[in-house]
Point group: C2
Chain length 345, copies 2
């Protein structure tokens, strides 16, 4: 009884068929309908308070205007802005977004692929929890991969050029005359083997003819919750800063760890940046709010999400054309944001 009006009600009210009503309401520009008819439909819809049922439309047209984004954890400071970037782009074009958190867990992720298939999204933005995922089960749904790995060669992928970013950090510290540079890494996540960071670290030493001291490489547990990781990093960092020949500078592979360095240094009475320079990576909000504010390698999160969404929209609007080309690989440049934790030695 109290159920909402459907397109047939509108049709009846306007004295037209539902086909015509649909034509008017979907604003198909290429279809001809008399101006007067158009108005009649519009006023009928208005007066009945008609709201189209998206489910029925999607079922028939097999376009849902939903896209799914699968990430590790929305409460990880890296993701909200990324999500926002994607969402702003998508909602402008009438798409809704469903966020799926996988917590770096493969089981969860697999379950989500099922959700994706059941729920019939038009496209997927995927930050893979690991590098060896089988995406074939997603069938023909367009997928954009987030990240900088080459593990999914046949898919479009968009990420930050983290390699170049890490090099940038080392080079900057070198140009500030630092020769004894600590490396703080977060491990345990399947995705970030951190092997490649160590490789860059080695290459950097070799390139500049520096002696590499393995004691300066510090590994920290890195878990799902940022605040936990922050705490757990304290002990290994404390060890690093208590070495008898402690580093004059530290590069941490993410801002959480870099902030942990800052805090430990503060407690040990080591003045930053005068006695210790620190560079983080990511440029999360907390980085700009520390005292002194953290120098960091900025990953473009908002833009990352935006580009992924734009690419997905392209794929959706013209699947054939885009499919012919080679997969898109975008690596956004990382920038050095020099704030207050770096100074010349």
């Amino acid at each position: 009884m109290g159920s909402r009006p459907t397109i047939v009600h509108v049709a009846k009210e306007a004295g037209l068929s539902k086909a015509t009503v649909a034509r008017v309401l979907n604003q198909q520009t290429d279809i001809s309908v008399r101006k007067e008819t158009r108005l009649r439909v519009q006023s009928a819809a208005e007066s009945l308070g008609y709201v189209p049922n998206k489910l029925a439309a999607s079922l028939r047209s097999s376009r849902t205007n939903n896209i799914a984004i699968s990430i590790s954890d929305i409460s990880n400071p890296f993701f909200p802005e990324l999500v926002r970037g994607a969402q702003d782009t998508l909602s402008k074009r009438g798409y809704n977004m469903i966020i799926l958190n996988n917590d770096w867990d493969q089981e969860t992720e697999r379950e989500q692929f099922n959700v994706i298939k059941r729920t019939l999204v038009d496209g997927v933005i995927l930050a893979p929890s690991r590098l060896d995922l089988d995406l074939s089960c997603l069938g023909t749904i367009p997928v954009i991969i987030l990240g900088n790995s080459d593990a999914y060669p046949s898919y479009d992928s968009i990420g930050n050029n983290s390699r170049a970013g890490v090099e940038l950090a080392f080079e900057r510290l070198h140009s500030l005359k630092h020769r004894r540079i600590g490396l703080v890494l977060g491990g345990s996540s399947k995705l970030e083997t951190s092997a490649w960071r160590i490789q860059i670290y080695r290459d950097f030493h070799q390139k500049h003819g520096l002696m590499l001291d393995e004691n300066l490489i510090t590994r920290c547990k890195f878990t799902v919750r940022a605040s936990d990781s922050f705490i757990m990093a304290r002990d290994p960092i404390k060890r690093l800063l208590k070495l008898e020949r402690r580093p004059t500078a530290i590069f941490a592979s993410n801002d959480i760890l870099a902030l942990s360095v800052l805090q430990v240094a503060n407690e040990l009475g080591i003045a930053v940046p005068n006695e210790l320079s620190v560079i983080g990576m990511g440029d999360v909000f907390a980085a700009s709010a520390s005292s002194p504010p953290l120098t960091t390698i900025c990953k473009q999160r908002y833009k990352l999400g935006k580009l992924a969404a734009e690419r997905l929209l392209d794929l959706l609007s013209s699947p054939e054309i885009v499919a012919q080309k080679a997969p898109l690989k975008i690596r956004l440049a990382c920038k050095l944001i020099e704030r207050g934790t770096t100074s010349i030695l």
Copy 2:
């Protein structure tokens, strides 16, 4: 041709009708179906790789298993954890979540209400952008209001007891012998008129027989982007800290502002906590990562989302029962997290 198998394909494969297949696949416990039949259906579904079409199911049953959450901005540090709390609860029960950002903009919010109606969500968790919204357009969709206002008396609402939290901060500073306490407020958001905070500030002074110095009340612009607010707060805070009789303690109405205080103090060479105690509010991640770590009034964000989701699920599973009761009003207690920015005078 390549389209996915439907329930009729499964039925044909199993030599049964789609009704029976549906019975098996929906695990209705109260319905009788022979064990052998059940197995036949399951193996048929398995071998065809059948995935149910949620759209069709939703259309027929008018249950979508989607719920919408309307918030101001997912990239505001307050929200990700809240969303996560809700999401964890909902996904456990098979619900997906659609996040809508309104950017404190009424126009956007109104558009989103349309999205909600079109998309036929089962329920809504709503953090209203203002206190005078007309929610009647959402019809009979169950709605949970987030926040601590009494503006929506007929709806369930769940929020933090911010008033008590603010009092807690003042009382703590008082017990630490501070008598000259600055108040840093973030304005401009329609929701947070901050009038009530000033009232509490006045009441506090009166209660303890303290002289109230209007110069100690500082208003900062507070905008959509946390990082912008952080920067914009610097000038007013600097003025506050440069008063000839500057406060010995500061309470800021959110952590972003409190961190800004920390940073400005650091630049001015004011030692925290020895020369200045600071208490923030919110307990965002950045609060624990500052140096020294910020003492703050903790708002329970994860639990807030969790409770909202649980209540919504209750409403959905037994609408009649719950509807009879008076609207639920939950105010979560705020806790004082004493870290490194407070000390006795």
